[in-house]
């Protein structure tokens, strides 16, 4: 597999990165590259310029305050999975990170790259939406509910770089994933969290973009137990359907995974 040629840049700062982006004809930021590079190898993407954010060590951090967990966009999945701060503050997030891709992917892939890409079957969007996190960028702060706008689409503007994700530390949270048996991406992944503002349930993999399930949230707000949502089904109509699972099966799995997420929270 050979990509198309491109110009490679290794900026020393976020400002440099943004400036380079502005000067290039068809640029892409390169974070961990675990999705972008395979896409380029398939020649489904052929950017003129790759701006490598890998050298920006200021983007790789995990910090904890009394009620928030801040993770730098350049933090690798493996770092999130093994961080003592993440494990103590939001164990479900560490568990989720431990299940992304495989060990080698987790050594390269970053949370910022995953969110900016917003693959409909990625894990992180479920945590960010499920916890009601805030996505900070070079320009602004974006609430999770505003960030994910569609399949492979986000609220990010041209050249805008995710810098940090601020997660509220929940009272309880759980994640359960049913992996696609071939790709191991989430066929259905459900993140459930009990946070200050209430209960949030976010589903990835099942639809074209991560989404919340208000009915389950309401039921869990009254009774945070797996039994409380046992009879709540999401509508199958808008869900993905493919070789590995029909929309009806995915709808069914949403309930099963949600129950398991609650039970594990």
């Amino acid at each position: 597999m050979y990509t198309k040629p491109f110009s490679y840049h290794r900026p020393k700062s976020l400002e440099d990165a943004v400036a380079l982006f502005g000067k290039s004809s068809d640029p892409r930021y390169l974070a961990g590259g675990q999705t972008l590079i395979p896409t380029m190898k398939q020649r489904l993407a052929a950017p003129s310029d790759l701006i490598d954010l890998g050298g920006l060590s200021a983007l790789a951090f995990i910090r904890k305050s009394a009620d928030m967990l801040m993770i730098g966009a350049g933090t690798r999945h493996a770092a999130v999975a093994t961080s003592a701060d993440v494990k103590s503050a939001i164990p479900a997030l560490a568990y989720l990170a431990e299940g992304i891709g495989d060990p080698a992917v987790r050594h390269r892939g970053t949370i910022g790259g995953s969110l900016a890409n917003n693959d409909p079957a990625a894990d992180y969007p479920a945590a960010v939406l499920g916890l009601g996190a805030t996505v900070k960028t070079t320009k602004r702060s974006i609430a999770a509910d505003e960030f994910f706008t569609g399949m492979f689409e986000t609220a990010l503007q041209d050249g805008e770089i995710v810098t940090e994700i601020a997660f509220p530390i929940p009272e309880k949270a759980g994640y359960a994933k049913f992996p696609n048996p071939a790709s191991r991406y989430a066929m259905v992944g459900v993140f459930v969290a009990k946070v200050k503002t209430g209960v949030r349930v976010a589903v990835t993999g099942a639809g074209p973009c991560v989404f919340r399930v208000p009915q389950m949230e309401a039921a869990l707000a009254k009774d945070f137990s797996d039994g409380a949502i046992a009879n709540i089904k999401v509508a199958a109509d808008d869900l993905n359907s493919d070789l590995h699972g029909s929309r009806e099966y995915r709808a069914h799995l949403v309930t099963v995974m949600a129950r398991r997420a609650v039970a594990g929270a």
Partner: protein
């Protein structure tokens, strides 16, 4: 062309290469280190696994330029002073390879598993092998070899 400097199997390398050269092609075609293999297009088979600063990564899913300043270890660099690494020994001892094609990536991944999880049980080892596909062995003996090497490597350190 970007210039890259790195250490590969302990040797310093300083060369210019096209930005689009994947690390695996750089290792195979530029450095002649053909022990690292390419088995798929989608980053899933793991035949290309090498260590980047001591961590397992897929050399088909990064450009050589991204390894600038890094320390790379490939299967050729695992044995030290003619002495096989305990994981290499364990693969041979437990018949954990047949055709040998996935083996270099499998061994590099296995060393990384034991580094991170020295006490991994069978179930954990199987989960940790998610990114490495073998078509010959049914994994039975690979799992055995890794568990055995883990015990040996623990005893050594």
């Amino acid at each position: 062309m970007p210039k890259i400097e790195m250490r590969v199997n302990g040797k310093p390398i300083s060369v210019e290469t096209e930005a689009e050269t994947l690390l695996v092609h750089f290792l195979r075609d530029r450095l002649g280190l053909t022990g690292t293999h390419v088995g798929c297009d989608t980053g899933q088979c793991g035949a290309c696994t090498v260590h980047l600063n001591g961590e397992a990564v897929k050399s088909c899913t990064m450009f050589a330029v991204q390894a600038h300043g890094a320390e790379i270890t490939t299967i050729e660099g695992l044995a030290k002073n003619g002495k096989l690494h305990p994981m290499q020994e364990a693969f041979r001892e437990h018949h954990a390879l047949q055709c040998g094609f996935c083996t270099p990536g499998m061994i590099m991944a296995a060393v990384d598993i034991v580094r991170r999880k020295p006490n991994a049980d069978e179930k954990t080892i199987r989960q940790e092998l998610e990114g490495n596909i073998c078509r010959c062995t049914g994994y039975h003996n690979i799992v055995k070899a890794i568990a055995s090497a883990a015990a040996g490597m623990g005893a050594r350190s």
